[in-house]
Symmetry: C2
Subunit: 266 residues, 2 copies
């Protein structure tokens, strides 16, 4: 297959800024792995241009899908004709795909990648007691995706208590049977600890909260991709916990999104 | 260099249909040859969407240039802030490039590729007597580009006599000193014979006009790319003429356009 030709189908990732995104190489590689003649290109759209530009871009006949990243995930919601259940609750999308009828379907996969990463490790969220740190964009998507998996309880912590409360309400909205609480970070009385805060990213050596030991039975997940082994995951490994990395979430998310773009796994 | 990343600069070719274009692989390969992190993608825009879509597309901040092909070369002219001399006379563009000041400059390179191909063979059009077959889009661009090279005379033939007359007038407009005529195809009293008609394309075994022998001194050019050796070029080779192929024009055009896109040859 040529690198690119007149027959190549085009996808894009829309954001501002755009230079830091990893989707172009990762999705293009996955398209090729599935033997599809498609590329995903960076599309740098400034906020003042978004509302005029994107609807016109969707008229390009060989453009089959868009990914939205910062700061457009909420703003892109209105572009969709059909919105998936995760995105409806979160109030944001990160993927828009052309359907066979020419309409546009959307959903958010940030959290579904986390669920997918756990599934690949053979770990279910059903009946588990969950503690989530961070109720921002990533945390919201993760919380909603997990809520669809019927956990027993869901506790969320955020420095911004209002944001934590709002997310707790969304989890309840997905499934009123889940025991939901806004609470301080804790490591006992829970089965799964998830970090979706930015603490521990890059050269930030901090733990997301003060803790010295983690129970060995805990499953610990960190949404951070860089570094692969965050301070929290290092501690968890030292304590013998099962750990799941941000990169595994990203991998699960890419696979689910390429399915959504109409190129199912062989 | 990755296939594509968030830092990759984006170019496009806009047309309808788009599947048959060769620019995506050829320009992307040339960008890489010049060690530039850029790709050129196919952009299929339908005629009803062109006027709304393209001005919005130009707002994409990492999109640095567009190529226009059938049926948009004339229609794209109005998108440019600055129009080069070839395009002004032809009344059409095939390349639009972002300038450092953020404005858009345009020109047409279809004919300049032909001039460039001749230059590479050490053949000048200056003071030569030219016969051109075909006064359509390709023929017009070739005629105007050659007119800037100060030939002695320029004769043009087209089945549509009005179209031939209009093109003759354009050549005269570039340089009133050129002896210009609309005439039947001929092979004597000329130095260079150029075919810009579609006759001989793909599996069309015809010559563009009835002829059995060509003078050995004639330089014969065919704008057709597929097949590389057209029936006209086969005859010319058999007669010992110097021949120049459509592929050489395409090569010259790509080089000139990548220069125009701001990536000069090393």
């Amino acid at each position: 297959m040529d690198l690119i030709s007149g027959r190549t189908r085009v996808f894009g990732i829309v954001g501002d800024p755009i230079e830091q995104v990893r989707s172009p190489e990762m999705f293009t590689a996955e398209f090729r792995r599935r033997e599809r003649d498609a590329v995903l290109v960076p599309i740098h759209v400034r906020p003042k241009d978004f509302d005029g530009c994107i609807p016109e871009l969707l008229k390009v006949a060989n453009l089959d899908g868009l990914i939205f990243t910062i700061p457009y995930k909420a703003r892109a919601l209105r572009l969709a004709d059909v919105v998936g259940p995760n995105a409806q609750i979160v109030g944001a999308i990160n993927a828009l795909a052309r359907t066979e009828g020419g309409r546009w379907k959307a959903d958010i996969f940030d959290g579904r990648g986390c669920v997918e990463a756990f599934r690949r490790r053979g770990i279910s969220f059903a009946d588990r007691r969950i503690m989530l740190l961070g109720a921002g964009g990533a945390g919201s998507a993760i919380a909603v995706a997990i809520a669809f998996e019927r956990p027993k309880s869901f506790q969320v912590y955020d420095l911004d208590a209002d944001r934590a409360e709002a997310l707790a309400a969304k989890v309840k909205q997905v499934d009123p049977r889940i025991e939901v609480a806004v609470d301080a970070p804790k490591v006992t009385g829970i089965d799964v600890l998830l970090n979706a805060s930015p603490i521990g990213m890059l050269d930030d050596a901090r733990l997301p909260f003060e803790v010295e030991r983690l129970p060995r039975a805990l499953v610990v997940f960190d949404a951070i991709v860089m570094p692969e082994r965050t301070p929290l995951l290092s501690l968890a490994e030292a304590c013998g916990c099962t750990t799941i990395r941000g990169l595994e979430m990203m991998r699960g998310q890419i696979d689910a999104m390429v399915d959504f773009f109409g190129y199912p796994r062989a």
